[in-house]
Symmetry: C3
């Protein structure tokens, strides 16, 4: 699929919880990373999602936050991927940060240049990518 999303996680559906209108769908990548998506029940039907089915989770880099120290706080986000910073591209307003994941692949975040400076991000340092289940788009072949 040719799409602008910087984060494209291929994997298999490993869990589906249907609510009244929305569903929470978990996908596990070959590298063992678990991505949780919030989509509508209608989409679960339309995409024919079921445990074991191959699917892709798409996340825009602009939906991803970078955490370097939680200082004992817990977050309400369902998705959290930890690794080492592989690259940082700085612009006048934005910065793109790639975090390499231990299971292979990387997660990309677009943050502000100010945030990058304040956090003192450096290639090789540990960092965690954080995003909400509502920011995840699923794709599958019907």
């Amino acid at each position: 699929m040719k799409i602008s999303a910087r984060n494209v996680f291929k994997g298999k559906i490993t869990g589906i919880q249907l609510g009244a209108v929305n569903a929470e769908v978990a996908l596990t990548t070959a590298g063992g990373d678990r991505i949780v998506a919030s989509v509508t029940n209608a989409s679960v039907q339309a995409l024919g999602l079921a445990s074991g089915k191959e699917a892709i989770a798409l996340v825009k880099a602009s939906s991803v936050l970078v955490l370097t120290d939680s200082e004992g706080y817990q977050l309400s986000t369902r998705n959290s991927l930890s690794g080492k910073i592989a690259s940082i591209t700085e612009g006048p307003v934005s910065a793109e940060v790639a975090i390499a994941l231990p299971g292979g692949g990387a997660v990309h975040a677009t943050i502000t240049h100010e945030a990058s400076k304040e956090l003192g991000l450096k290639v090789g340092a540990s960092a965690t990518a954080i995003f909400k289940a509502g920011a995840v788009i699923l794709a599958a072949k019907a």
Copy 2:
């Protein structure tokens, strides 16, 4: 309305589905484009939304993905607008892409510079703008 959202779709409400807490509201533009928004039931009441009422759908450019080839995949997103790329503005980290819609008007997406390069985006080429119903804000006069 003077607001920073790059995507401002004026139209009429053409469908409302109330859930327990959230509602799905469809708006159709003069050009025939259909936008689906996920808002709370409380907002439907506060804005006095009803079929036929004039309203505006607002979408930040940063919430929009650009798809050039779905390669047979179906997506979980409720909004998909296809057209021809009208302009591309490149920065060191971000790129803004405008896609002209056949019914008139355009849809704007802010993507990463890397994504723009990888997709080989060119003015005049076909592209589809993709966004979640949860990324849409509605405005109306009460």
Copy 3:
């Protein structure tokens, strides 16, 4: 907490409404600003959220819109913070705008350079930051 979110609102939980799957949680800052977050019931439990508990609301600058004149329109968004523009950083594609709040602190928005130009944003002018409850992440010590 060391995180890339430009908007970090410290305060106390002042309201929790549980739905079937999702909850709406209100936090009020020391400056009197009220932030509404949409999170899952599971997160309310995991973070031990309750009225009076200290918590942090996190919002990415890219999730925030800047409104300078509503022209009589009402919006479906739950969060609206008004103040005076304190700074504007322009890049080729993006612009970061900081709006100082009357109760202290500021709210940051990343918008497109085009939007900044069209709205004629100027330091010292009045502006309102708008964001959806779904864009808010909560953090708390369990």
